[in-house]
Amino acid sequence: MDDQAQIVIDGVTHTYRPAHGRAVLALSDVSLEVRAREFLALLGPSGCGKSTLLYLVGGFLPTEVGRILVEGRPVSAPGPDRGIVFQHFALFPWKTVRANVLYGLERQPLSRPEREQRAQAFIDLVGLGGFEESYPSQLSGGMRQRTALARTLAFDPSILLMDEPFGALDAQTRALMQTELLGIWRRTPKTVIFVTHDVQEAVYLADRVAVMSTRPGRIKTIVDTRFGDRNPSILRSKQFVEKVDEIWDLVRVEAIKAQEDTAP
């Protein structure tokens, strides 16, 4: 199993030091391995450090204690091998849908027509054909997140880091996007680390769910959540509901702890 791990997180501890206020131990001795083309969900209440862990893998924050290896090499900076999708889309508001998607392709060894073609293919893939010349401000939340997804998929990172990507969307759009993401993931298999606090979402999307404890963040347990065929109908299956309950019980304790932590 070890030699298959694409991402190795080994004994990572991270202290968050805000410019004002006291330092917070965000992650404590976190170890985790993610296999190539695996879909892993990081699940935990807000403030458990799951996004911090994602940013460390992304290379946006420096690893201070422990080590993070991607394809055997320690992570030192962001790179196009690890694409990221943020909760609030992080689109360039001054660029059109097309220009946003093209941005990640600019530094790829492709000719201009190839880039254009590739951008168009991914805009079509996420169902945004016809909106190429729209600015993000003219799009709905769901369409913005589709654009962000197309932008990240277009430069073909082998790893997809997703930071509560559907957290800002309404329930219907979220359900739609989840199914769509699975479809895309099946067609272009990638290693995915998907941060969420939504148990059902985690169980539905992921092969494995890493449940995190709160403050300091630790991996509490890892649950295998592979079912047969993933489609919306499994959401009502007994197997699925039981799995959600099982994980929900694990998370509940942490959620209550997190509430007590933030209570005045």
Binding site: R82, A90, P93, G104, R107
Partner: protein, 247 residues
């Protein structure tokens, strides 16, 4: 068309009231020459070439000082937002210079560069630079770190980040600073020319006033007012185009 006409109706009413007040001797014609006399004086000034000559001199000073201020001020603001040591070094200077009435520098710039174009350009440059710098600085400081991260994950280096993310993020505030600078540039131009110049709009206003050609004086004042107004309108159109992506 009718909406535009309605919008400027108050100006028309003001013009009629002006003409009437002077004609009916409600105000002395010396204090306020009738608008028709002002118009006639304007035509004469154009025909003599006085208005054009002095106008071109003024426009040259204005544009040179303004463009210098936008270029240097914008770059300075972005640089201060990007490098902490530069921020630490220059911020006290900017803060000190900000509330200073820039017209107080008129004698200083004359002392350094004489009565010609140089002192006017320097004054406009110094005065207009501050709002541009502050706009660029605040705009760049406010750029979303998630956008920076996004660009970095797509392989953008330091220079590309500045160009692709920080600058566009700064644009709305930067352009507002530039608009303030545009208004300031007219103020500084005319006041410096009134005090220390042998050419330009300000000089012409002072000269005509001193010689009792009040209709001519008003003609130049109205010309400057119109140019300032037109420049601002044009700038707003440009700004809207630049910021067409804003919500």
């Amino acid at each position: 068309m009718t909406r535009a006409a309605l919008r400027y109706l108050p100006l028309l009413i003001l013009a009629v009231a002006w003409e009437a007040a002077a004609r009916l001797n409600i105000v002395s014609a010396l204090a306020l020459p009738p608008l028709s006399h002002v118009a006639a004086a304007w035509v004469d000034l154009v025909r003599d070439g006085d208005l054009i000559d002095n106008g071109l001199t003024s426009l040259y000073r204005l544009i040179a000082g303004f463009l210098l201020a936008v270029g240097v001020g914008g770059a300075l603001g972005l640089a201060m937002a990007s490098w902490r040591w530069l921020d630490a070094a220059l911020r006290p200077l900017v803060e000190l210079f900000y509330p200073l009435p820039k017209s107080a520098l008129i004698p200083v710039t004359v002392l350094w560069l004489g009565f010609g174009d140089g002192s006017k350009i320097l004054l406009i440059f110094l005065g207009c630079m501050i709002p541009v710098t502050i706009g660029a600085y605040n705009g760049a400081r406010g750029s979303d770190h998630v956008l920076v991260w996004s660009a970095r994950s797509m392989g953008a280096g330091r220079v590309r980040l500045l160009w692709d993310v920080v600058m566009p993020s700064a644009l709305p505030e930067l352009l507002n600073g530039v608009r303030t600078a545009l208004a300031l540039s007219f103020i500084l131009l005319v006041s410096s020319e009134l005090i220390s110049s042998q050419r330009g709009f300000g000089y012409l206003i002072g000269y005509l006033g001193d010689n009792g050609s009040y209709a001519g004086m008003f003609a130049v004042v109205l010309t400057v007012a119109f140019l300032g107004f037109a420049a601002d309108r044009l700038y707003q159109i440009l700004m809207r185009w630049f910021l067409r992506w804003c919500e």
